[in-house]
């Protein structure tokens, strides 16, 4: 809880919150970190295998192989979300499945499925960004500022492009 809200509590509320905090089972942070490391690492390993496969058998260059790899991971994540497995894995894996691109795909797919009942336009179309929307917005804003800094401090790249 933020400090500003805690200030407004009565002494009785503060006393109760101390009791409630003492009785609250803590999130197993250490175990969660290990699980996230293993599961996140596994997803990256699978991604790397797919990438190498694209390079070896698909005729992609090292640079080009990235995009189809991400597409495959996204499709896998959407399939696992659709058959109701991804959220079960996530309860175990935590950040390990939330941070990679599969987590982003899951947030969009799950929202889209959830809001299907409200129709295609106001349901799926508007609803699928319920969770992913803020990632897109803040990602774009962050990229904008990084781009400005890059343009100022690395003069050679001011023109942009590759």
């Amino acid at each position: 809880m933020s400090k500003s809200t805690r200030k407004n509590l009565t002494p009785m509320q503060q006393q109760y919150q101390r009791l409630a905090m003492a009785k609250e089972p803590k999130r197993p942070a250490f175990v969660n970190c290990i699980r996230a490391f293993l599961s996140g690492g596994l997803i990256c390993l699978i991604g790397e295998c797919i990438r190498q496969a694209f390079i070896a058998y698909g005729g992609f260059s090292e640079k080009e192989a990235g995009n189809p790899t991400v597409a495959v991971l996204i499709i896998l994540s959407v399939i696992l979300t659709s058959i109701g497995v991804y959220d079960k894995i996530s309860q175990w894996a935590g950040a390990g499945t939330a941070v990679p691109v599969t987590g982003f795909a899951n947030s969009m797919a799950s929202s889209a499925i959830e809001h299907r009942a409200e129709g295609l336009v106001l349901g799926v179309g508007a609803g699928m960004f319920q969770l992913a929307g803020s990632v897109v917005v803040f990602g774009t804003v962050a990229a904008f500022f990084v781009g400005i800094i890059y343009a100022i401090f690395v003069p050679g790249y001011a023109g942009g492009g590759h």
């Binding site: 509590l9 503060q14 991804y86 009942a117």
Partner: protein, 336 residues
């Protein structure tokens, strides 16, 4: 009749002449499965949306209760219902198909006892010959409204609770057979400043303790009067806190057995539900299914059911507001 500050004694002792309980697949795998009238294998219950599925749950439990009482819908004068959906759509839409004159209630998960206490009050004073009280919740519709999409992979903390998919309804009347509703205590809204919607047990425990203590103060009896006191859906975290609060307030809860519905409906070893169960359906199906069966069999004689509700909305907690909570207690005693 008013007794003390916030309690009613039902002088004519209305009876719960029949109940209907319908649950989802996950509850059907729990230890109380045999106490439920109907267990659905499909979370969608053959409907297109979670909201419609929830409505079907309450329609089915109401129909079951009416059927088991040997009545028709037309014979029931009033229906007291509520649920967790915005604008209590499940109950109101069910009331549309039931076409029984309807009082829509919102007490979050305390609605089961709020509706039972009011229905009993109306019946006690001759306001109705037969009244229907019921509530429901659906895991997926509640997750969708209050938390994240059902398939979204978020890791739930150990304090989180699993919303029961289920609906419980009861027919209350002065005529017929069944356990009697003898008294009720209506709770105050208590807010101890908890803001974490994944820790409802801690938010609701003080409301439950307040109502229980008010009940015994108003009724001037001891906890030993009851064979069992159950709270609605405090689950592990809230149950521990409630026990601690009773101890600090020097309240003799140990004279009786104290349990929590949220810890009874699922098997912690087999079903991964973190702290336990929650939702309107939790106290409703455990009380109208499991506990009333025990009262009918004579395993229990007198029980006090204290349904607990967290009166938050998805907007209020996003705006950083704390979670106000309430609890209503109803005393149910076996037949004679």
């Amino acid at each position: 009749m008013l007794k003390g500050h916030q309690s009613w004694i039902y002088t004519n002792k209305p009876r719960i002449i029949s109940t209907g309980t319908v649950v989802g697949p996950f509850e059907g795998q729990g230890p109380l499965a045999n106490d439920f009238d109907k267990i659905h294998g499909d979370l969608y219950i053959g409907q297109e949306s979670w909201e419609k599925a929830e409505r079907v749950l309450i329609e089915e439990s109401a129909d079951l209760a009416i059927q088991k009482a040997g009545l028709t819908k037309e014979a029931v004068q009033f229906y007291f219902g509520g649920d967790l959906m915005n604008q209590i759509i499940s109950s109101s839409f069910a009331a549309r198909s039931l076409s029984i004159p309807y009082f829509g209630l919102f007490g979050a998960c305390s609605t089961s006892m709020e509706s039972l206490s009011l229905a009993s009050f109306i019946v006690n004073y001759g306001g109705a010959k037969y009244a229907l009280a019921g509530t429901c919740s659906h895991n997926a519709s509640v997750e969708k409204q209050f938390r994240y999409p059902t398939e979204y992979g978020s890791q739930k903390p150990p304090t989180a609770q699993f919303t029961v998919t289920g609906s419980g309804s009861a027919i209350i009347s002065l005529e017929g057979d069944g356990p009697r509703v003898t008294s009720a205590t209506i709770g105050k809204v208590i807010d101890m400043g908890i803001t974490d919607p994944f820790n409802m047990g801690a938010a609701m425990a003080p409301a439950a303790v307040d109502t229980i203590q008010a009940h015994f103060r108003d009724m001037q009896i001891d906890p030993s009067y009851y064979d069992l006191i159950v709270t609605g859906d405090l689950s592990k975290v809230g149950y521990d806190i409630a026990n601690e609060l009773f101890e600090r307030h020097k309240f003799p809860i140990r004279q009786t057995t104290y349990k929590d519905c949220g810890m009874m409906i699922y098997d912690y070893n087999k079903q991964k539900v973190q702290a336990g169960a929650s939702g309107c359906g939790c106290s409703a199906v455990v009380t109208y299914g499991h506990l009333l069966n025990q009262l009918r069999k004579g395993d229990l004689k007198r029980i006090l059911v204290v349904a607990t509700g967290a009166l938050l909305s998805p907007l209020s907690f996003q705006q950083g507001e704390s979670i106000p909570c309430i609890a209503h207690a109803v005393s149910i005693e076996s037949g004679e």
